[in-house]
Symmetry: C2
Subunit: 324 residues, 2 copies
């Protein structure tokens, strides 16, 4: 900046102003400064800027897994919106573990991010304490609660599970098989589905659970295991479209007809879901919208703009297709 200023015939401070608040600088000096920047190939140093201004223009974003489309979609939109506001994103994985999350939060805070995005509403006590101590806006995504750390945006997994059960029972299915991944939110949907389905039909669902994430392989295996456990007719409730797709494939491999022999209900409305055979009935959550609104809300909090509510419910919607 010093050098740029010298070439433009102004002081270093004026260069700083030209960059951060151009209208405070006269038109002609602004031009000279821009020429000097061009000439020197000057690149601003945001590290120094962050130290001096105490605003890093950095956002930390923690998601369980970036290979999971659910979170990748979210991050894609989050990052792109946030970049439009001049922020950069530090991304890290937490792998569905609260301890891991706490460790990651701890190292991230040393970057002095202006805000932080967390997945879910359950965090370790140590994690909450550190966040509170940092005094920065926090947005929790993919869930809702009355008492967010700061702001949360998502939908009610309990309601989603119930709604799926009402749909299933309403379509007349009397038996259910649940095939679910082991993450905490999927399990909450499973539990509310199970209790609602049992209440409406009198029959508790058979359950096949996986510790790890959803894959087509586990979906295929899930149907096999479900059949071994005695499931025959009815509806299969999956914690994700990927599992559901695997189930469709396994059903086909076994010569079982969907939905005549068994119906399949996915979750997530992934981009392939309208194009499976048969097309998949699923629950849609607008992930792009979620990512965008999360970014907007977080920036609003950081820049002290008013936010109408601390808890944003983006809802969900059952999309009926041929698999049920």
């Amino acid at each position: 900046m010093e050098t740029v200023g010298r070439i433009a015939g102004v002081s270093q401070v004026t260069v700083s102003r030209a960059l951060n608040d151009p209208k405070k600088v006269s038109a002609k000096t602004l031009q000279r400064i821009q020429d000097a920047i061009e000439l020197t190939g000057y690149v601003p140093n945001m590290v120094a800027g962050a130290l001096a201004s105490r605003r890093s223009k950095l956002i930390a974003a923690l998601v369980p897994s970036i290979t999971n489309v659910i979170y990748a979609d979210l991050m894609q939109n989050f990052i792109n919106v946030i970049r439009g506001s001049g922020y950069h994103v530090l991304m890290a994985e937490t792998g569905f573990s609260q301890d891991e999350e706490q460790a990651v939060v701890s190292t991230m805070l040393s970057r002095r991010p202006d805000g932080i995005l967390l997945t879910g509403i359950h965090h370790s006590a140590g994690c909450k304490r550190m966040l509170l101590g940092a005094g920065i806006p926090v947005i929790e995504v993919w869930d809702t609660t009355e008492n967010p750390l700061d702001v949360c945006i998502g939908f009610s997994h309990i309601k989603a599970g119930e709604e799926m059960a009402r749909y299933a029972a309403g379509k007349g299915y009397q038996q259910a098989l649940i095939v679910s991944a082991g993450d905490e939110r999927a399990l909450r949907r499973k539990d509310s589905f199970a209790s609602q389905f049992k209440q409406m039909t009198g029959n508790p669902p058979i359950e096949v659970l996986y510790e790890a994430g959803a894959t087509i392989e586990r979906g295929r295996n899930g149907l096999s295991t479900g059949l071994e456990k005695g499931f025959r007719n009815g509806i299969i409730m999956c914690s994700s479209d990927l599992l559901a797709h695997g189930i469709l494939i396994e059903a086909q491999a076994r010569g079982l007809r969907v939905p005549q022999d068994m119906a399949v209900l996915g979750f997530g409305n992934q981009d392939f879901s309208p194009f499976t055979l048969p097309a998949l009935t699923t629950v849609e959550v607008n992930r792009a919208n979620l990512g965008r609104r999360a970014a907007e809300a977080l920036v609003a909090r950081i820049e002290n703009e008013p936010l109408p509510t601390k808890s944003i419910d983006v809802g969900f919607e059952i999309i009926e297709r041929a698999s049920t």
Copy 2:
């Protein structure tokens, strides 16, 4: 640090040393310092550290799209390895455009990253100039070349295309349909496949190209379009397993048998590929390995450790399954 030092009865510098190079501090003062840190809840400020040391411990990583499993897998492993070495990752998307890439590089450089990961080996002149000017290690992934900006790691797309053609012709297929996404590397594979296939069989492949990325939907559509263009028997070469999966589904929907009526050859060996009906023949590139080695190579370059070669070829392998 000042405060922590005061409580521990040492100066600020000693606290800094205790954190960065504990063995330079005596055991008992180290203990007092750790106690003081515990007591005060001190969180180091890496922004200040970066400014003073001129090492940000930040790596910028630019990929075309994080929702594409190909890049998500790569980044997952890259980030996790790099985190083990004390670095954080600034991630951004470039969307397959050189202009976009240049814009992103420009803003990223103001963070003074210690190193940068780029996808591919084709970059705008301005981008290259900025990178050279920054004087930081650069790793280019997913491709190889004799003249990387700094270090590259990947495989030869031309060889991959040729190998696929040799495999296809070797299996006796006389006609080929290519269904490909529009990214630059996929197109290079397509071209070398086409010329090699034509050379071996005398028949130029029919081509169906998409500007946008690979999806199951485009795969289904790709087969339909290919049939309209007159493709009947032979092999379908896809630029990704996702397209191939779509083709398998469309074939099934039309009552076409794979591989009897037509064979399908994917690319990428995604986790679902062994579990499609029929299981997919594809080309495997070890993406986890690629991400890890990219991280290791970049850290080695940053920390001035010797690197045996500037151009690392991780190769690829055709995995034969039931679809061919």
